[in-house]
Symmetry: C2
Subunit: 290 residues, 2 copies
């Protein structure tokens, strides 16, 4: 089955867990709404690709890891959109969860998705207990405090931001989780995979900054110009449009160079190249003279 | 060391995790503020007491389980106090987290505490992997959807509440988690321990309803009369003060009767009796003629 089907199936299975018990209907619907249809599913795609590149000897573990990672990402989108953060009315081209449901349900949906992520890993059969624990530990480290996406968002409440820690935690951490959890799911050492995740995370951040600077809300599917509005640090403000586009090319080159030697090395390089080709129109927009 | 010291030490160790890395200071302080000084630590006390009654053959597992359960409870208090839920200005006799810090930091503190709970379990040594996974699964089931405290809070957004599911999920679930996780931590089957947890949860709910009806904010350490204000179902509204007090006595009797046969059976019965004696002044307040 194509990778995107495999990932969507894993996520749907995780979210459907326990649907037989009596549950509050609106919160259940908010969970479905927050998780499907998904965005590009880029984090679980990277995770599954790394697992495949490493042999994918326990596909059920890979699927649980991919679903868990995406659920945490979806939770972060739901909470980041809340009025006390970005106050975003739209997400993925439809009303954000607190606009479609309510603020209480958005808070609870985010909480439930975080719990569901760890439940998905903990529900793996006992013979995978050691890998499941390791996955859970890595996911937690990249999600909470002091170095995960919660910490990243937390930096925005500080009077003085540690920019490197902020970017690493806010955007980088779930990409590092993606590459490292992919390796763990396939029984490999996660350490050599940290750099690839970090570089993809940086690329994603710079691409997002470029999009935020040149596209409008309709094209983005979410409010544009949020960084300027919230005085958040941004590669375009720092380097200009052309400078940011060049930085993006450099990072993607570095990402390919950092791929650890493994059976699927060439396949992973092609994945990064495909991502770079997708960004080409964006780069053309900001470098019209080239 | 006394039980309360053991539990506070376990919680402090869980929250201090990774304090060496660069982290957003305010969010870190919000986590400390939300977890210490604690309330009665009743859930981890029950968990540890059940583990002790079952032999407590792996104290590090018991401590991690007790800390994880209390962290989830603290997270739920932080989120429940938010303006979109109870809008509570005080908690445990001091300003609630969103009042002392901010709404964004309260949302993030709750999220981080949930993650930290699962991280604490996942950080146990590999030779405890099977128990850690099982604990993680039980904690998740009693925390998220469809039957955990998130679901319980979610029922309050429904046009029609399933009262039994609501009470079971909102208050009962973490008490069931307490008794069952105590058994799992000591390597025992959790099933026989469900009823004791459920009954303690019911007792706690009825006692809370009584307190809410007869005490003021200063004595409670949090806003009084919240159930009436939010039109939440309540044992006092349903049965009257004396009826609710009688129900409380019946439930505690049933709790003692339900304790599974184990080496620490008498010790657990004494724990429930001690709790009942603590509630005696409250019962006297509502039954002045007896």
């Amino acid at each position: 089955m194509p990778l995107s089907n495999r990932i969507d199936t894993a996520i749907a299975r995780a979210v459907a867990r326990g649907a037989a018990a009596p549950a509050p209907d609106l919160l259940g619907r908010a969970l479905d709404y927050a998780t499907a249809p998904g965005g590009a599913r880029i984090r679980p795609t990277i995770l599954t690709s790394v697992a495949l590149a490493c042999g994918d000897d326990a596909p059920a573990v890979t699927d649980a890891a991919a679903a868990a990672l995406e659920l945490v990402h979806c939770a972060s989108l739901v909470h980041d959109d809340l009025p006390c953060f970005d106050d975003a009315d739209t997400r993925r081209g439809k009303p954000s969860v607190h606009r479609a449901f309510s603020q209480p349900l958005a808070v609870l949906a985010g909480d439930s998705l975080i719990v569901m992520a760890f439940e998905t890993l903990a529900s793996l059969p006992d013979d995978h207990a050691a890998r499941a624990m390791r996955l859970s530990r890595h996911l937690a480290r990249r999600t909470g405090m002091p170095g995960g996406i919660c910490a990243g968002q937390g930096w925005e409440s500080e009077p003085r931001i540690d920019l490197s820690a902020y970017h690493k935690a806010k955007t980088g951490s779930l990409f590092v989780a993606a590459t490292q959890m992919g390796a763990i799911a396939a029984g490999q050492d996660p350490e050599p995979w940290e750099e690839l995740g970090a570089r993809i995370g940086e690329a994603f951040q710079v691409a997002d900054d470029l999009r935020d600077a040149v596209m409008d809300e309709a094209a983005l599917g979410k409010p544009a110009g949020q960084d300027g509005l919230h005085h958040r640090p941004n590669a375009v403000t720092e380097l200009g449009l052309a400078g940011a586009a060049q930085r993006l090319r450099d990072i993607l080159g570095g990402a390919i160079a950092s791929i650890p030697s493994c059976p699927g090395e060439a396949m992973l390089a092609e994945l990064v190249n495909r991502y770079a080709r997708k960004l080409a129109p964006l780069q053309a927009m900001v470098e019209p003279g080239e």
